[in-house]
Symmetry: C2
Subunit: 396 residues, 2 copies
């Protein structure tokens, strides 16, 4: 991981809190914020009245075997625990109504800062639906977007695989621990995602899949992504939950129409009637996401302490770099050849944690593109980085 | 025809005006209104400065052969000329931005007062599209609605035929004279429609089809109907014109979605993106039309001199009969067995021309249903005719 990694004892304290029965994400976020660190929260758990007694016992007397397993998980290369309050936590996911207290990552966590499009749909997709999932995933990947989905059978798996096959990046959000692959037949796919993207979960290592995990998983898929595309979905599909959460989070929802006689088109048609954008091509999705990217960049920039967004301003965000000296320093550090995050930190003298969010803002504005190996590049040779009319928001 | 028929010399005067080159529908409506009748307008045409000279010559010195042919057309049973200002002119069509100056009818003109749903679509429809057209037409006909379309190949023809096969009624609006069947292979279908419904045109007998006639024909299809359903349509289809006109006329537009890979779904998808209602079943259309029917009834009642609609009133219209003594007289004249228009006129002592519009209001409110042979019946045995919650707006 290019960004700072959590010290081992702080990570283990986080795991103790995350594994405590009956302690929700909101309670954990509050506890850690109040005490300044997970370690401090654990150390004072005995005298903390807000923790239910069962959780308090678990936090104060953790199971030795579980703790040893957690330590082994944390020690493996490519494994990361990213707490909500850390700068490495994905900025878009932080913005949702009930964000996770922390994320477990197996793979490269820098992909979580890249612009993502979710592709979700039925586990029992038709051949046509699978072909559509592959075609849209390929187009998103080729335009420099990360394809995010849920590793399920059917549409999810087809989207992940097609993004990888196109040389792109994909993120799988799991309803299990990152070390528990579900469904089992996606073991090889999960290994490929881990190697070229990231497996993400809010559930600690070893957690088995439970039905109630999947709606929670879905809010993370939607929350990481600029928009969610539903390819095929029945009326009771979990994909409709993901789409509803995306809409509630202010992200765009896209749906593919289909025959009125296809049960797997019903869910998409319901979404369209409820306001989702009917799309026929990947370009329509990408065009729409450019507008969302500009709005989100504007919002993020305000939240990150840059000049606040102009009230009522709906058009493309004025170029950040022209107004903010830190962004100007970052842009000077960037190049038309890919530069690593560490090199950017050296050149700009900005902390790596701040860089991650700033780079997302610039990616959303279409000024910067993610390159392979967690590196960044100015979006187009010869392009004026200050131009608000930059047409893309990413590039492989 | 149950309603008063135009006197022969007035009908011939109308034909002289309608055949005059360069005299548009708006000009003719104005002329006739100013002079009180078509006869008076023709008699004073020589001194009428608003008539272009070529039109004036044609009106004052009509072609003898054409006039003889017009006389023969008018003399045939089932042939009617309905001027815009007449009470027989369909109330919904009168409401559009540029209504025709008159309609030529071959068939039973009372069907034009019944609630209609337009079904339109591609001439080169797929087998699936044709099957959908048939299924929706059958459902509309069976629920007591007249199916209105344009007699074209493909979707139009399938909709007309299915409505007739279901024992229902259908109206074909033509871009030619009612005696010129286009396309030629629809000769038999046109004869069936004439026998069990109506062929309608604003073009005088003998008029051949010209490309510019068909968009004009489409505005009449949309204008006669509570809503327009587009089954299959390419991006350049004339059906999109019909749909746009329907929307501009304040009517509902419905579209069937389809595969993103089907060129004939593109037009429907464009309509849905532009605000048309995506529908999967005929019931969805019928549910929606009930609301439109109530609004239109409210509007018509106001325009017909009944108690005006309450400003801002959006719900189902309060029952007309409770508020208006003429409607109360009409309801007393109605029965749970079908009653002819002449009998209703006798019983209620209301003029037939006024009855037609009042019956449409009551049909739209779901109180009255059209029965076979141009007769009318209270919508349901035992139903309280004053109930605003009447569920249907028609019944065969």
């Amino acid at each position: 991981m290019s960004a700072d990694t959590l010290p081992a004892d702080e990570a283990l304290a986080w795991l103790a809190l995350l594994r405590a029965p009956g302690l929700g994400a909101g309670a954990i976020r509050t506890l850690v914020a109040r005490h300044g660190s997970a370690r401090a929260a654990v150390a004072r758990a005995r005298r903390e009245p807000s923790i239910p007694s069962a959780a308090r016992d678990a936090v104060c007397s953790p199971d030795r075997e579980t703790q040893a397993a957690d330590r082994r998980w944390l020690d493996q290369p490519g494994h990361h625990l990213i707490p909500f309050a850390g700068d490495e936590f994905p900025a878009l996911l932080r913005d949702i109504p009930s964000p996770p207290a922390a994320l477990f990552i197996a793979g490269d966590p820098t992909h979580l800062w890249s612009p993502q499009v979710a592709i979700v749909g039925s586990r029992n997709a038709t051949a046509g639906g699978l072909a559509n999932a592959r075609a849209f995933a390929r187009a998103f990947a080729q335009s420099g977007n990360v394809v995010t989905s849920g590793l399920a059978e059917g549409i999810d798996g087809a989207a992940h695989a097609a993004a990888l096959d196109a040389g792109g990046t994909t993120i799988a959000v799991l309803g299990t621990g990152t070390d528990v692959v579900y469904p089992r037949q996606h073991g090889e796919l999960a290994a490929r995602i881990r190697a070229a993207g990231a497996l993400v979960s809010e559930f600690p290592p070893g957690t088995a899949g439970k039905p109630e995990h999947f709606p929670r998983r879905n809010r993370i898929i939607a929350g990481l992504s600029l928009g969610t595309l539903v390819i095929e979905a029945g009326l009771n599909s979990g994909s409709l939950i993901t789409a509803r959460l995306a809409a509630e989070q202010g992200r765009e929802v896209f749906a593919l129409p289909g025959s009125i006689h296809s049960p797997l088109a019903r869910g998409c048609h319901k979404l369209i009637r409820d306001g989702a954008m009917l799309v026929e091509t990947a370009d329509e999705v990408l065009d729409q996401l450019r507008g969302i990217g500009a709005r989100l960049a504007d919002h993020l920039r305000g939240r990150l302490g840059g000049q606040p967004a102009i009230a009522g301003h709906e058009g493309p965000a004025p170029a950040t770099a022209k107004r903010d000296p830190e962004y100007a320093r970052l842009l000077t550090a960037l190049d038309h050849a890919p530069v690593s995050l560490d090199e950017l930190a050296d050149r700009s003298r900005l902390p790596i944690a701040a860089l991650s969010s700033m780079l997302l803002v610039l990616e959303l504005e279409g000024v910067v593109a993610a390159a392979s190996g967690g590196r960044y590049v100015l979006a187009r040779p010869g392009e004026n980085p200050g131009s608000p009319a930059s047409p893309g928001h990413g590039g492989a």
